[in-house]
Subunit: 163 residues, 2 copies
């Protein structure tokens, strides 16, 4: 699937999440043959659930699959994946991770590459602006989601963290 | 909390999972002050859910917590954590992972250490025997859970894999 088309699915999920009052991160898992296996969004707020990030939510919605279903697949995600979601992609042998942006948060991209996963960063301003808006509005919820106590958000911009 | 006492909680979860027809892996998250924050077990079969491993299920059951709640905490798990669960422990800054056994499966122990998490392996024969029994009974379900196509199970024993 075309990168911008796949990312659009993920961004749509993120936007739904924002309208629900949640953390606006979305994902879509697309098989080697272009079929959409699943879509999902961060559900920490909506479901009071700390393990439903965009990518894990997407994997959950895709359901139980044989390992062959993940071969050659691409995980599209609006934001650089955290350590949990990085590990989930590695566990299931997802071949490629296409990332909307990594300016508001820098996750496990280096480790994905080290473990043989192709990583593409699209540097989408739509993804970044949605996250920036959310982080300024609800910094405490965001800190909780990435497991940090507090971060400094200045007018100069939101600093990426590799925590 | 005493290591064998914490592992007993995790093993109890694994045994419940086995009786339910599920994959017998359990976990318990214990705070620095000894409070049990959550317990959980692999729910792939019971809930048709590919992201509910022992540790992630435990984190889900512990609910939304501030990052301070995880500081100094220990994740007790009956089996060496897969890449997803390894990443989940790193994300939330869990301080120590106490593992029942790593003979039937070797997960992200080296990476946990590299990221500053203390790892203790107890080499529990109870945990190992329960997994060995399950893997022989339902190899396909086990392969699906660790994202592999097939593995060879010989009479000589189940080989650990670092996939």
């Amino acid at each position: 699937m075309d990168e911008s088309k796949g990312l659009a699915l993920a961004l749509e999920e993120a936007q739904i999440g924002y309208r629900e009052g949640g953390i606006p991160i979305g994902a879509a898992l697309v098989a080697a043959d272009g079929r959409v296996l699943g879509r999902g969004r961060n559900m920490r707020v909506q479901n009071d659930n700390p393990i439903l990030h965009g990518e894990t939510s997407c994997l959950q919605n895709a359901g139980r699959l044989p390992s062959s279903a993940y071969q050659g697949s691409t995980m599209f995600t609006t934001l650089s994946p955290c350590d949990m979601c990085t590990g989930a992609c590695i566990l299931y042998g997802i071949s490629r991770v296409v990332i909307g942006e990594n300016k508001t948060f820098l996750g496990g991209e280096a480790y994905l590459k080290q473990r043989g996963v192709e990583v593409v960063v699209l540097d989408s301003s739509e993804c970044r602006e949605l996250m920036e808006k959310f982080i300024v509005e609800k910094p405490d919820v965001w800190n909780e989601d990435i497991g940090v106590e507090e971060r400094v958000y200045s007018r100069e911009g939101i600093k990426a963290s590799s925590k």
